[in-house]
């Protein structure tokens, strides 16, 4: 277990990168605290796996250093870093039995046979494969193989960090929950530093203490699931997290009032000195559609479609913008009625975030 420090790190797959667009991973400074569980979340191709491979030593960064507990390991080979990694697709040694597979990393380090037997037994119990320990790995299903990969990753107790590269992609949805819960309890019990790469927000939010959101090779926000939800630091976070994502409307802000297409919106704070492209962002959970009460409050809106997803309904509405209608999503809580007479769109002022050039701006007290 170790604190992992990324110092001025950046990576390009090109030999001579010319501009920022040539970098798969933009410059990054970050400490991964010892014993925390992180999720690395982002769309495909945003640099998540690049970052993970740099940490595990499979890739050498083109710039910057990486330190484990203050020791520079930038040039240390994977084997010397003592980390465990689980890959997206199951990697098992086909000709070995499940038991031999689980014991392999320990055996390669020359561990004591009694200790190996004990570790293998406890890992097998955890992944629920005690009954199949003596079978060859070759004939097993993809889930079972991936469970072996997970088990092999966790069999060493002294690893500096456990890295997961979208490990549950091939697992059945039912089993995903179970394994994720087990990973979480494992983290709770042993306190390994864990980094879990995923493009699935549910996975990230349920697994991690802190979620690192990446976009186009850049880390756009590091925060608790709650912070990502309430105060997304970048419009990408707002859009990527939540289902549906955050509503964004172009706005001009004066004092605590935002002028948006179709009317004005009251804000919870003032935003002096804004520059660039200004937008307001409101989570669908904090938007409501109400009937017109004649007072002129709210924005005029039309309901296009309603999606009933069980506990709540997602209302797809639109308001008139300067160049055509702008889509707005509203989550109607359980029991709330939806009707065509609801033509005014209201936002909760305290929950509105303001963005200048896609980055969130902190409000000043009004």
């Amino acid at each position: 277990m170790a604190k992992i420090t990324l110092d001025n790190l950046a990576h390009s797959y090109l030999a001579n990168p010319k501009g920022p667009e040539d970098y798969a991973l933009q410059q990054l400074d970050h400490d991964w605290a010892d014993g925390e569980a992180y999720a690395l979340l982002g769309a495909s191709g945003c640099g998540k796996s690049t970052l993970l491979n740099i940490i595990s030593g499979l890739l050498r960064p083109s710039q910057g250093r990486i330190l484990f507990d203050g020791v520079d390991v930038t040039d240390a080979p994977t084997a010397a870093r003592n980390i465990a990694q689980v890959f997206q697709f199951p990697v098992v040694y086909d000709t070995m039995t499940v038991r031999e597979n689980l014991a392999f990393p320990l055996r390669n380090r020359g561990a004591d046979p009694a200790y190996i037997a004990e570790r293998v037994a406890s890992i097998a119990a955890m992944i629920g494969m005690e009954a199949t320990l003596d079978r060859k790995a070759r004939g097993l299903t993809a889930d079972a193989k991936q469970k072996i990969s997970l088990g092999r990753g966790m069999v060493r107790e002294d690893v500096n960090a456990l890295l997961f590269d979208e490990p549950l992609t091939v697992i059945d949805p039912q089993m995903k929950w179970e394994l994720r819960t087990q990973l979480k309890s494992l983290h709770h019990d042993f306190g390994h530093t864990m980094i879990y790469v995923t493009h699935d927000q549910t996975e990230a939010l349920t697994f991690a203490d802190k979620v690192v959101v990446m976009h186009e090779g850049r880390v756009v926000q590091i925060g608790t699931p709650e912070a990502l939800f309430e105060t997304p630091a970048h419009t990408f976070v707002g859009y990527f997290i939540g289902s549906p994502g955050m509503n964004l409307l172009p706005a001009e802000i004066e004092g605590t009032t935002a002028r948006v297409p179709g009317g004005t919106v009251q804000l919870g704070a003032a935003y002096p000195g804004l520059q660039g492209k200004v937008e307001i962002g409101v989570r669908p959970e904090y938007a409501r559609l109400l009937p017109d009460d004649g007072s002129g409050a709210g924005l005029p809106a039309r309901i296009r479609r309603v999606e009933d997803v069980g506990r709540h309904k997602i209302v797809r509405a639109e308001i008139d913008g300067p160049s055509g209608p702008l889509p707005v999503n509203v989550v109607a809580p359980e029991g709330a009625g939806v009707g065509l007479d609801q033509t005014r769109l209201h936002f909760d002022p305290a929950r509105i975030n303001v963005y200048a050039d896609d980055w969130r701006v902190e409000g000043a007290a009004a």
Partner: protein, 292 residues
């Protein structure tokens, strides 16, 4: 279980294949069978000889010696070509321009016709003008494949290795290319040694294609004719007279059609039997591994 409709007319659909196989394989083979149970004094007059030819063949040292040489030859070239081919495959570059260069260089020997290979080595090994033969003679090594048993065998074996190791290497290379990078990365993380990577990742992934390579090389080497015939003509004496060479001597040299036909049938059955045993062992091993 039997819930399918029975319709005897379906046999008609099999007929064309039956006719095709009959004309392409069964009938020509039957003429050989026909010769093997008859004798003639010429003049196109035949009379039945029963199993006489077979009995004579089984009792003859000549056939057993040829078979012994043949088995030894196949065993030796397999023992060299398979490990060597795997070793080459492991050391070929995986990607980039050099990978293509290596592939082309490796395939070159495979493209050369058999008797050209024979001719190349026949000249290459000559003591008077051949580069290899003359060089060895200069160095004072007694090498003459037309007179010496060991020299003849060494030439024939090295020639086969030169000609066919590429096949094993290319098949093994194809097997290696199908291994995803994640396996090598996982092995690094598990701190597996180079030997363990070979033993537990590369070899299992190559085993399928290697089985095919071994089967192909066995069958081909067991039927080898042209190359040793061009180089040594089966000599010195009968030292490199393998089954095919012996068979041709018998059928065309001596025009002993009856014994030659019996020889052909037994030769054919041996190849069929070994291939069948090989295939069965291979598939049951696969099935057992999968189940266990």
């Amino acid at each position: 279980m039997n819930d399918k409709t029975v319709n005897q007319k379906a046999w008609l659909l099999v007929l064309p294949v039956l006719a095709l196989v009959a004309f392409s394989a069964v009938i020509p083979l039957m003429t050989v069978v026909n010769y093997s149970v008859q004798d003639t004094f010429g003049n196109n007059q035949f009379f039945p000889a029963g199993l006489e030819w077979f009995e004579e063949l089984l009792a003859s040292d000549r056939m057993w010696n040829a078979l012994g040489r043949q088995v030894a030859f196949s065993a030796i070239i397999l023992a060299i070509e398979v490990p060597l081919g795997v070793f080459i495959a492991l050391n070929m570059p995986k990607r980039g321009a050099w990978a293509s260069v290596c592939l082309v260089l490796m395939s070159l020997p495979l493209l050369i016709p058999w008797n050209v290979v024979g001719t190349i080595w026949q000249i290459f090994g000559r003591v008077d003008i051949g580069l290899l033969g003359a060089t060895l003679a200069e160095l004072g090594i007694d090498y003459n494949y037309t007179q010496d048993f060991y020299a003849a065998w060494a030439t024939v074996i090295v020639m086969d290795v030169w000609h066919w190791t590429s096949l094993v290497a290319l098949l093994g290379y194809a097997g290696l290319q199908s291994i995803p990078d994640a396996y090598y990365q996982a092995a690094k993380i598990d701190q597996a040694s180079r030997w363990a990577v070979f033993r537990y990742i590369e070899l299992p992934k190559m085993s399928g294609v290697l089985m095919i390579a071994i089967l192909l090389r066995f069958m081909d080497s067991f039927m080898i004719y042209t190359e040793p015939f061009v180089v040594t003509g089966g000599g010195p004496g009968n030292d490199t007279t393998f089954l095919s060479i012996d068979l041709v001597k018998m059928a065309l040299g001596q025009f002993d059609l009856g014994p030659a036909a019996a020889f052909s049938l037994m030769y054919f059955l041996v190849i069929l039997l070994v291939s069948w045993v090989f295939y069965t062992v291979m598939t049951t091993m696969d099935a057992r591994e999968g189940r266990k």
